[in-house]
C-alpha cells in the first residue's frame, strides 16, 4: 500500500509550567494530541511515534507565559494519501451507488458508481449485495472484502477519501494477488521450461562432442543441477 512513510523529526515541544512536575508525560500528551489528525507540517496523518528527549534541562522561554522549550527527536509513522496512490481498505458498506471503505481502521473512503469500472456488475446474491466481475467469476467485492483502489481526491480535514476502481490493477486484493501469483507462477514455470530447454540445448551442443561415452553422464548431471 502507498501512502505510508517513516520520518525522522526534530521537534520542539512547549510545555506549560504547570506540567513541569511530569515533563515526559506532558510531552507524550502533546504528541498524542497530534495522532490521527492531518498535520500540515508533516504533510500527513501521524499514526505512531517513538520519541527521544534530547534535553535534560529545558529552556524557559521568556514571554507572557514562560513555557519550557524541549528539543526532541522522534521517529514518526505517517500516512499521507495523495491522488493517484494505491490504497487498501476494508469494505464496510456497499450499495448500487457506492462502496464505502475504511483504511487502516480510521480513514474512510467512498467509491461512487461512476468510478467503478463497467466490468463490475451490481447484484444481490442470497440477500447479500455485491459487485461481481463479468469476466472473472471469482472476482467479487462485498462487505468485508479488502480492496485496493486508486485515490482520486482527499479531504484532509476529516480524512475522507474519494477513490476509484476504474483501473485494471484495482479490486479485491485477494483476487488481484492470486492473479498475480498465477501469472508469476505461469511466468516461473515458463521460465523453468525455457531454462531446461536452454540447458538441454546446451547439453545437446555438448553432446555433439566426440566423447559420446561420457556424454550421457554429463547430461544427467547437468539436468540434475538444472532441476535443483
Amino acid at each position: 500500500m502507498d501512502g505510508l512513510s517513516e520520518a525522522e523529526a526534530n521537534l520542539v515541544v512547549y510545555v506549560h509550567p504547570s506540567k513541569s512536575k511530569n515533563v515526559p508525560q506532558a510531552i507524550l500528551r502533546e504528541l498524542s494530541s497530534l495522532l490521527f489528525k492531518f498535520n500540515e507540517t508533516f504533510d500527513g496523518v501521524l499514526l505512531a511515534y517513538d520519541v527521544n528527549i534530547l534535553d535534560r534541562q529545558a529552556k524557559i522561554l521568556s514571554g507572557i507565559h514562560p513555557y519550557l522549550g524541549l528539543r526532541l527527536k522522534a521517529q514518526l509513522l505517517l500516512f499521507s494519501p495523495k491522488p493517484d496512490m494505491l490504497l487498501e481498505g476494508k469494505v464496510v458498506k456497499l450499495s448500487q451507488e457506492s462502496i464505502h471503505v475504511v483504511i487502516l481502521g480510521f480513514s474512510s473512503a467512498i467509491i461512487t458508481a461512476e468510478n467503478i469500472r463497467q466490468e463490475f456488475k451490481y447484484k444481490i446474491k442470497d440477500g447479500e449485495e455485491m459487485f461481481a466481475s463479468r469476466s472473472h467469476k471469482r472476482h467479487v467485492i462485498k462487505v468485508g472484502t479488502m480492496i485496493r483502489f486508486l485515490v482520486k481526491s482527499v479531504d484532509e480535514e476529516i480524512l475522507h477519501i474519494t477513490g476509484s476502481l476504474m483501473e485494471a490493477h484495482t479490486g479485491s486484493i485477494r483476487w488481484l494477488d492470486k492473479k498475480s501469483e498465477e501469472t508469476s507462477e505461469f511466468d516461473r514455470s515458463a521460465m523453468k521450461s525455457r531454462d531446461r530447454e536452454w540447458q538441454e540445448d546446451k547439453t545437446v551442443d555438448e553432446g555433439a562432442t566426440p566423447l559420446s561415452n561420457s556424454n550421457h553422464i554429463k547430461k544427467s548431471k547437468k539436468r540434475r543441477i538444472a532441476e535443483d
Binding site: V92, E97, S107, S108, E114, H160
Partner: protein, 548 residues
C-alpha cells in the same frame, strides 16, 4: 407534474415498488437538472417543496415524503453542496420529532448516507442529529406524558443508531461529534427540560460504543456544567426558600462582601431564578446518579470513576478558589485545595449513610495518623496560618466524630485504635482545640464527655471560647474552616435518592428533615436543643455560596 403521488385506493405491492422506483428516478432527474443550464428547475423546486413543507401532512403526503427521502438516500452522490444548497439546508433543518416512525427511519437513513458520502456533509449531519437531542419547543411540555415518552424513545433510539452507523463507516466521526455535542450544550438559561433531555442523550452516548472513544470528554463536560449551575445559585436564594433566616444571621456576616452585595441587587428575581436552577441541578444530579448506577451494573464503574476523579481534581476542587485566583500565588492554591479536600472528606464521611463503619474508621485512622505525624515533626506554638492544613485535619476528625460518635463508643476496638492518638494530638502544643471552629470543638467535647471517651477529659479546659481570632485566622480569606460541602444536602430529589428511607419523606415534610442525610442515631441531640435529625445549627454553616 414532478412528484405528485397518484391516489390509488388500494395498491398491490408490485405497484408500490414501481411507484417507489418511479419517484427515485424522478428525484435523480430533479437533482441532475440543476447543474445543467438549459434544464428547468421546476422539478428540483418541487423536490425542495416536498421536504420543506409547512403544514400538517396527510397520509399520502407522508408517504410521498418517505419515498422521496428514500430516493434521495439512494442518490446522495448526485447531491452537490453548491448546486443543491436549498435542498441540503431543507434536509438538515428537519426534525425527527415531527414525523411518524417510518418517515423517521427514512430520514435517519438519508442523514447517514449524506454523512458518509462526502466529507462536507459529515459535520452537518452530525449537527442535525445533535439538534434532534431536544424536541421542538411545542413538544417539550408533552415529554412527561406517556405518548411523549414513547415518542422520545423512538426518536432517540434512531438518533443514536444513526451515530453508531456513521461511526462504523467514518471511524473518526466520534471525535467530531463530541466537539459538536459540547458546543451545542444548552446554556443554563435554556428551558429546564431541554437541558435535561440533552444531558440524558450525552449520558446515552457515554454508555454506548462511541463512549469508548469519547466518554471521558462527555463526563468532563457534564461535570463542568454541573459546577456552572452550582455557581449560578446564590446562597441567598436557598436561604429564603428553605431556612429560617434567623439561624444563619451569624454566618451571613462572614460571607464574602462582593457576593452579598451582588445578591442584594438582584433581589427577588435572583431568588426565583436560583431556585429553578437548583431544581435543574437536582434533576441533573439524579440523572447522573442513575447513570452511575447503570454503569455499576454494566461493570464499568471503575473506568467512569477514574474520569470523575480526574474531573473532580480539575474542576470541583478548584471551584472554591475560582473567585480568588488572581490573589493567590500557586503554592497557596495547592494549600487551599488540600484544605478543601479535607473538608470534602469530613463532610462526606459524616453525611453519607451508605458508608460502612469499616470504611469510616479506616479513613479516620488515616487522618489521625497524619495529624499525629504532623505533631511529631512540628514543634512550636499555636500558629493558625502556618499549620492550616493540620488544623483543618483536626477539625475534620472532630466533625466526623460529632456525627459518628456512637459507632466508636459501641465498638471498643475502634475506640482503642483511635482515641489515644487523638488525645495526643488534641493535647499537643499546636493546640487545635483553640484554633478550630468553636462550634465544632464545643460539640465534640460535649459529646465525648457524655460518652466518656477520654480517660482524662477534665484536662481539656474548655473555657467557652467564642469564635476566636485564632480560628478566624486559620480559615483565611475564604473561611475554609466553616466549609463542609455536603452539609446539608439541599437538593431534594438527590437527597432522597441517597436516603434509604426515601419513601417516608414527602414534599410536605419539614424542611430540615428533607435536607438531612445525617445518620439519625448520632449524639447530636445537644445542638441547640433541636431534635436529633437536625443539623447542628452552628455547624451547618457552609457559608460559601458554592457549597452545594
Amino acid at each position: 407534474m414532478g412528484l405528485e403521488l397518484p391516489k390509488y385506493p388500494v395498491m398491490e405491492e408490485e405497484e408500490v415498488v414501481n411507484l417507489e422506483l418511479d419517484i427515485a428516478r424522478r428525484v435523480r432527474e430533479a437533482l441532475s437538472s440543476v447543474p445543467s443550464l438549459e434544464g428547468s428547475r421546476d422539478s428540483y423546486n418541487q423536490l425542495v417543496g416536498v421536504i420543506l413543507h409547512s403544514k400538517q401532512l396527510g397520509r399520502d403526503e407522508l408517504a410521498l415524503l418517505e419515498t422521496t427521502l428514500k430516493g434521495l438516500a439512494a442518490a446522495v452522490s448526485l447531491i452537490d453542496f453548491t448546486h443543491h444548497e436549498s435542498l441540503v439546508s431543507a434536509i438538515f433543518s428537519m426534525s425527527m420529532w415531527n414525523y411518524a416512525p417510518h418517515v423517521e427511519d427514512a430520514l435517519a437513513e438519508l442523514i447517514v448516507s449524506l454523512a458518509v458520502s462526502n466529507g462536507k456533509y459529515l459535520d452537518l449531519s452530525l449537527g442535525m442529529l445533535v439538534n434532534n437531542f431536544t424536541p421542538p419547543p411545542y413538544f417539550l411540555d408533552k415529554l412527561g406524558l406517556p405518548f411523549g415518552l414513547d415518542r422520545k424513545n423512538q426518536v432517540l433510539s434512531r438518533v443514536h443508531a444513526a451515530f453508531k452507523k456513521i461511526s462504523e463507516y467514518v471511524p473518526l466521526a466520534p471525535l467530531r461529534l463530541i466537539n459538536l455535542v459540547i458546543q451545542r450544550m444548552p446554556t443554563i438559561y435554556h428551558k429546564d427540560r431541554a437541558v435535561l433531555i440533552y444531558v440524558e442523550n450525552m449520558l446515552k452516548l457515554e454508555s454506548g460504543e462511541i463512549g469508548e472513544v469519547v466518554g471521558n470528554s462527555v463526563l468532563m463536560a457534564l461535570v463542568d456544567r454541573l459546577i456552572d449551575l452550582d455557581l449560578e445559585i446564590g446562597w441567598d436564594a436557598i436561604l429564603r426558600d428553605d431556612f429560617n433566616k434567623g439561624i444563619f444571621e451569624m454566618e451571613l456576616e462572614d460571607e464574602d462582601e462582593i457576593v452579598e452585595s451582588a445578591e442584594q441587587q438582584s433581589g427577588e428575581v435572583l431568588s426565583s431564578f436560583g431556585n429553578s436552577i437548583a431544581e435543574l441541578l437536582d434533576n441533573l444530579l439524579v440523572l447522573t446518579f442513575e447513570h452511575l448506577e447503570s454503569c455499576e451494573r454494566a461493570g464499568r464503574l471503575a473506568k467512569v470513576f477514574e474520569t470523575l476523579l480526574q474531573s473532580f481534581q480539575i474542576t470541583v476542587m478548584s471551584a472554591y478558589k475560582s473567585k480568588f485566583t488572581q490573589l493567590c500565588p500557586l503554592s497557596s492554591v495547592i494549600l487551599l485545595m488540600r484544605m478543601t479536600a479535607v473538608a470534602y472528606l469530613a463532610s462526606y464521611l459524616s453525611r453519607a449513610k451508605f458508608l460502612s463503619v469499616f470504611f469510616i474508621s479506616t479513613m479516620l485512622k488515616r487522618l489521625v495518623d497524619w495529624c499525629l505525624e504532623y505533631c511529631e515533626t512540628h514543634d512550636g506554638d499555636i500558629n493558625p496560618n502556618a499549620h492550616r492544613v493540620f488544623y483543618s485535619g483536626c477539625q475534620a476528625i472532630m466533625y466526623v466524630l460529632c456525627f459518628r460518635m456512637k459507632v466508636f463508643v459501641d465498638v471498643p476496638r475502634l475506640n482503642l485504635l483511635l482515641m489515644p492518638p487523638l488525645e495526643q494530638i488534641l493535647k499537643h502544643k499546636l493546640n487545635p482545640l483553640k484554633v478550630c471552629l468553636p462550634s465544632v470543638v464545643e460539640e465534640f467535647l460535649r459529646q465525648s464527655k457524655t460518652a466518656s471517651l477520654f480517660t482524662v477529659s477534665e484536662t481539656f479546659i474548655f473555657d467557652g471560647l467564642l469564635e476566636s481570632e485564632l480560628s478566624r485566622a486559620f480559615g483565611g480569606l475564604e473561611r475554609l474552616d466553616t466549609f463542609f460541602p455536603f452539609d446539608p444536602c439541599l437538593l431534594k430529589r438527590c437527597d432522597r435518592s441517597f436516603d434509604e428511607q426515601g419513601d417516608d419523606l414527602d414534599e410536605f415534610d419539614t424542611a430540615m428533615s428533607k435536607m438531612s442525610i445525617t445518620p439519625k442515631n448520632g449524639y447530636c441531640y445537644k445542638f441547640g436543643g433541636r431534635d436529633s435529625t437536625r443539623m447542628p445549627s452552628r455547624i451547618r454553616p457552609s457559608t460559601s455560596p458554592e457549597s452545594l
